[in-house]
């Protein structure tokens, strides 16, 4: 470059420099005002694109947290309802034990019966609990109307068996409330595997006490009928017309057949029968109704008393298995609540990481930016003062 420069070039150069410094200063000022490193995507296109993706992921996490609150609310309500159902069942258990006392008078039984009736109604109300938004807690996904209703034959379930899954963290799903069918219906009778009962027309005082599967490999799921041919003799049938075994009855002694063991007490008469076979299912309301029905018989003869006792025994077993089911249902809800807590932890951890990354991508380093601002400010002032001095330099002034 030659040594010659023109005056307008000198001015132009100073002005260009000042303009560039001013633009930089304005950009820094904008960064400081917004607290963001990236004003528009062009400042760092790749980081800006990533930030858009991370923003979406963060928003999704926030949404998942809100979803989790919804589910937690419903699971909490389920937990409350199930606690109450559990308490009620404990009371039922207690009352059944009381009623099973042979010395109990008719009046006392009546009192127990009416308390059971109240519990029955209370259970029905609990089964029709709502979630606070007008939907029924225990209706599955058909929860727009009350899932449980009393009809002539008992309680009918009109909900469905679908259990919703809700996403509460990326690819983490938590089950919503249990459908009513899995809490109040489908209770296994007996010990959950096999069930036994005295035939309704028995005339003796034989009581079916305990029964259980003692040999799982031998037991093939068949039903057995023990028919007394005399006070101390019995035949065992497996569904066929001919007995498969026969034996002599000794009070209190166990009878074993096909991998099953059962014990009878009392004195059966010839023609009395006891059945034992695979457990069936019954709903909780049916169990209560049977119980109430048994208490309402007002026995007068020994045979009637034995029949009632047999029914109470059977009800006691069903109540216990219902209590077990409640515990299972609460445990399942509890597991979901724990999964919610785990999901919350996962979300929080992800949140911290994502925010950190986003902050690195987009947020301003204040110390650096303020330092830069001061530097640019000084540089602009220097350029201005140089310009002022330069424009004083003119030979014309010396003339």
């Amino acid at each position: 470059m030659s040594n010659r420069i023109s005056t307008s070039m000198m001015y132009q150069q100073s002005i260009t420099t000042m303009l560039a410094k001013q633009a930089k200063l304005a950009h820094t000022q904008q960064q400081l005002a917004s607290g963001q490193k990236l004003i528009t995507a062009k400042d760092d296109p790749v980081a800006a694109g990533n930030a858009v993706g991370l923003d979406r992921t963060l928003a999704e996490l926030e949404r998942f947290a809100a979803n989790a609150t919804n589910v937690q609310n419903r699971l909490g309500l389920q937990e409350n309802a199930l606690t109450q159902v559990g308490d009620a069942m404990a009371r039922v258990h207690e009352l059944t034990l009381q009623a099973n006392n042979a010395a109990l008078g008719d009046d006392s039984r009546k009192a127990i019966s009416s308390e059971l009736q109240a519990i029955y109604e209370g259970l029905l109300d609990l089964a029709n609990s709502t979630d606070g938004t007008g939907r029924y807690l225990f209706g599955g996904t058909a929860d727009g109307s009350a899932p449980f209703a009393v009809t002539g034959g008992g309680v009918i379930y009109s909900g469905d068996q679908t259990q919703r899954q809700v996403e509460v963290a990326p690819d983490t799903f938590v089950s919503d409330t249990l459908p009513g069918s899995e809490i109040f219906l489908r209770m296994r009778t007996g010990d959950g595997r096999i069930d036994g009962a005295a035939a309704t027309g028995n005339t003796g005082t034989g009581l079916l006490m305990e029964f259980s599967v003692t040999d799982s490999t031998t037991y093939n799921g068949a039903s057995y009928r023990i028919a007394f041919t005399g006070p101390n003799t019995y035949d065992i049938y497996d569904g066929g017309p001919t007995p498969i075994a026969s034996g002599t009855y000794t009070k209190g002694q166990s009878i074993a057949v096909g991998g099953i063991q059962l014990r009878l007490e009392g004195q059966p008469n010839a023609g009395d029968e006891f059945n034992v076979g695979p457990a069936s299912t019954r709903d909780i309301f049916g169990t209560l109704q049977n119980l109430i029905g048994a208490l309402g018989t007002n026995p007068t003869t020994d045979a009637q008393r034995a029949s009632m006792q047999n029914q109470l025994q059977s009800a006691l077993r069903d109540v216990s298995s219902a209590q077990g089911k409640m515990i299972d249902a609460r445990a399942s809800g509890g597991a979901q609540l724990m999964a919610l807590d785990n999901a919350a932890e996962l979300r929080d951890a992800n949140n911290v990481t994502l925010k950190g990354t986003l902050s690195n991508l987009r947020d301003l380093d204040w110390a650096e930016a303020i330092g830069r601002f001061n530097l640019e400010n000084t540089a602009l002032q220097a350029a201005q003062s140089v310009f002022m001095q330069m424009q004083q330099l003119s030979l014309f002034k010396m003339m």
Partner: protein, 627 residues
């Protein structure tokens, strides 16, 4: 004596003239394009007196215009490129701000919409959540529409920019041609100020169109565009006109009109502001429109497909949630055939949004990229049974026959963002539920457990028919009486367009049924799937998610803005250098002029002294003879 006076007065006159040149320079210090002038002195020829030559003073031989044609040409080159890049940068920056700003970009409403779908999945029957999802969907399509409008507006600005620039160009070419006429073929005779004026006008012209100026026979300047088309030749000016794009009449192109002939100039033939506008349009704006449209179209396609596989609150199968925008096709204005092509979206994963030019060669359809000319594979014949397939778009020849060399422009996704709408207005019609559900008979004695029923083919006509899986033995089952089939625990049973897993050990006599979900269900199975569609890899052959496409859009536009900024900055540096070189030769320096002023003033004073001395000599001669 007279000799002395003549010499003195020649110097006085010369210095006076030189001083007026200095003052002319000072006066034009702020005139753009002014080249400084310098007075050239020469000694007058002397008279021979036998003993030698006696000098006769000074004369001015030339007032020289300090200019270097090479420096001027370099500056001119750089000016055309700089204005082109600056134009690109200005427009790209506007697009960048629009896409980056939360209030105008697509990312925020996009995220809110999918959040509202996720919210629905946690409360599928909630009226408020349903209403909120509809509201967010409307906000999202409104934003798509607004962005498309903004892009259209930018397109309109390119048009009006081209129109106003063309009229300015025509004014300049006429003025340059007129100046060429006045200057004639001999530059040496022309006034420096006139040459400056012409250079200045050429620089302005090149700023609009790019190109070069070539001096013809040492006199007139001819100006050509970057592509070599003549804008000014001698005293004749060509004129530019705007013509409609043959495919899209709403879009303007620039054509050169010489002798009644019109030649369309493409963006490669033009630099400067017009070139910048056209390049912005084809390399930044069009791809942005196409990509935004592609996102809109993919959202419609994937969301609608999933929505149709769900069940609404009325117990009906879901309908389309968004109205689907269709690809656009426009025929070339010069087509002689009457073929009508109907495009529709085929394979979403192959859709890339880029414009495609289709040409009929007499027997086959050929496709190519309209910008680069690269050929693109086409399959099919164009019948409804065997449509033409290009880049994931299917085309059917619905009527007419094409003539050889008929051309069409296919815009697969441009405009889709402007056409997307929400098709549903009743919140209850949002299909959040899985249309079928399973039921385990209450009396089952086995432990068979039915999993969640999922839809594998929403189009199956029997999907909603109730079906029963009945176990005739622990390892045998029938479906609706057909079978028996062998049961393996954990197996998946697929029937009537749904599938379900069955696990555990069902006993003989156990039964499971699958049937329609029904009205007013709070099932969230479909909402769950809908809320995850933004992360489904639906694009680019199944490698890119919709979220990825949104991020990619931001990055692409940001990169375009950054790149044009960098290029413009670099060109500015080149321009500054070229300007400095030109100014170091032609620019006025006030100090230099002040020094010249003093030097000439002193010389003028000295010349005055010569006159005074001559006078003294004359007076002393008169005094001597008076005696």
């Amino acid at each position: 004596m007279s000799n002395l006076l003549a010499t003195g007065s020649s110097a006085l006159i010369a210095f006076q003239r030189a001083l007026s040149t200095v003052s002319h320079n000072v006066a034009n210090i702020n005139t753009p394009g002014y080249s400084r002038q310098r007075t050239e002195f020469a000694a007058r020829d002397g008279t021979s007196y036998g003993y030698g030559y006696q000098g006769a003073g000074v004369q001015i031989v030339d007032i020289h215009r300090m200019a270097d044609s090479l420096a001027t040409a370099r500056l001119l080159d750089s000016t055309g490129e700089l204005t082109r890049l600056q134009q690109m940068s200005v427009m790209s920056n506007r697009l960048d701000s629009m896409f980056s700003e939360k209030a105008t970009g697509i990312a925020a409403p996009w995220s809110s919409f999918f959040d509202s779908v996720s919210a629905l999945s946690s409360s599928a029957a909630g009226a408020a959540d349903r209403q909120s999802m509809l509201a967010q969907a409307n906000a999202l399509v409104t934003r798509f529409n607004q962005m498309d409008q903004q892009l259209d507006k930018l397109d309109g600005e390119v048009n009006s920019g081209i129109t106003s620039t063309v009229s300015e160009v025509n004014r300049l070419t006429k003025e340059i041609a007129a100046l060429n006429g006045r200057i004639g073929s001999n530059v040496a005779n022309a006034s420096g100020d006139l040459l400056d004026r012409r250079d200045q006008l050429i620089s302005q012209l090149v700023g609009y169109t790019g190109g070069t100026a070539v001096q013809q026979d040492g006199g007139q300047m001819n100006v050509f565009t970057a592509g070599g088309q003549p804008l000014v030749v001698g005293a004749t000016a060509s004129s530019l006109v705007t013509v409609a794009d043959p495919y899209r009449p709403e879009r303007l192109q620039v054509a050169l009109e010489t002798n009644g002939q019109r030649v369309t100039l493409d963006k490669r033939a033009l630099g400067g502001q017009i070139g910048g506008l056209m390049e912005f349009r084809s390399t930044v704006l069009d791809p942005a429109m196409a990509e935004l449209g592609r996102v809109a179209m993919s959202l419609t396609e994937t969301f609608n497909a999933q929505h149709r596989a769900g069940m609404d609150q009325y117990g009906q199968m879901g309908a389309d949630f968004f109205t689907a925008p269709q690809p656009q096709i426009s025929k070339h204005a010069g087509n002689t055939g009457n073929a009508v092509l109907q495009p529709s979206l085929g394979d979403l994963s192959k859709l890339d949004g880029k414009n495609v030019q289709l040409r009929f060669d007499g027997t086959n359809w050929l496709a190519s990229d309209p910008n680069t000319g690269t050929s693109i594979p086409v399959t099919g014949t164009g019948t409804a049974a065997d449509p033409l397939v290009v880049n994931g778009v299917e085309l059917v020849l619905t009527s007419g026959t094409p003539a050889t060399n008929d051309r069409f422009l296919l815009q697969p996704t441009a405009g889709a963002a402007g056409a997307i709408k929400v098709a549903i207005s009743d919140p209850s019609r949002i299909a959040a539920a899985t249309p079928v559900k399973g039921n385990t008979a209450l009396g089952n004695t086995g432990t068979g457990k039915l999993g969640t029923v999922s839809v594998t083919n929403a189009g199956n006509a029997n999907l909603l028919n109730p079906a029963t899986i009945a176990f005739t033995g622990p390892n045998q089952y029938t479906i609706d009486g057909t079978g028996p089939f062998t049961y393996t625990p954990g197996q998946t049973i697929t029937y009537n367009g749904w599938s379900v897993t069955l696990d555990g050990a069902p006993a003989a006599g156990d039964s499971f049924s699958v049937g329609p979900t029904g009205a007013n269900s709070s099932d969230n199975g479909n909402a769950k799937l809908l809320s995850n569609l933004d992360d489904a890899r639906a694009l680019n052959g199944g490698t890119l998610t919709l979220n990825g496409a949104i991020s990619g859009l931001t990055t692409t536009i940001g990169s375009a803005a950054r790149q044009s900024d960098y290029a413009a900055e670099a060109q500015q540096a080149i321009q500054d250098q070229a300007q400095a070189t030109r100014d170091s030769i032609s620019g006025v320096n006030l100090d230099e002029e002040a020094a010249d002023l003093m030097r000439l003033q002193q010389a003028y004073q000295a010349a005055s002294q010569i006159i005074a001395t001559a006078d003294t000599l004359f007076q002393s001669l008169l005094g001597a003879t008076r005696r």
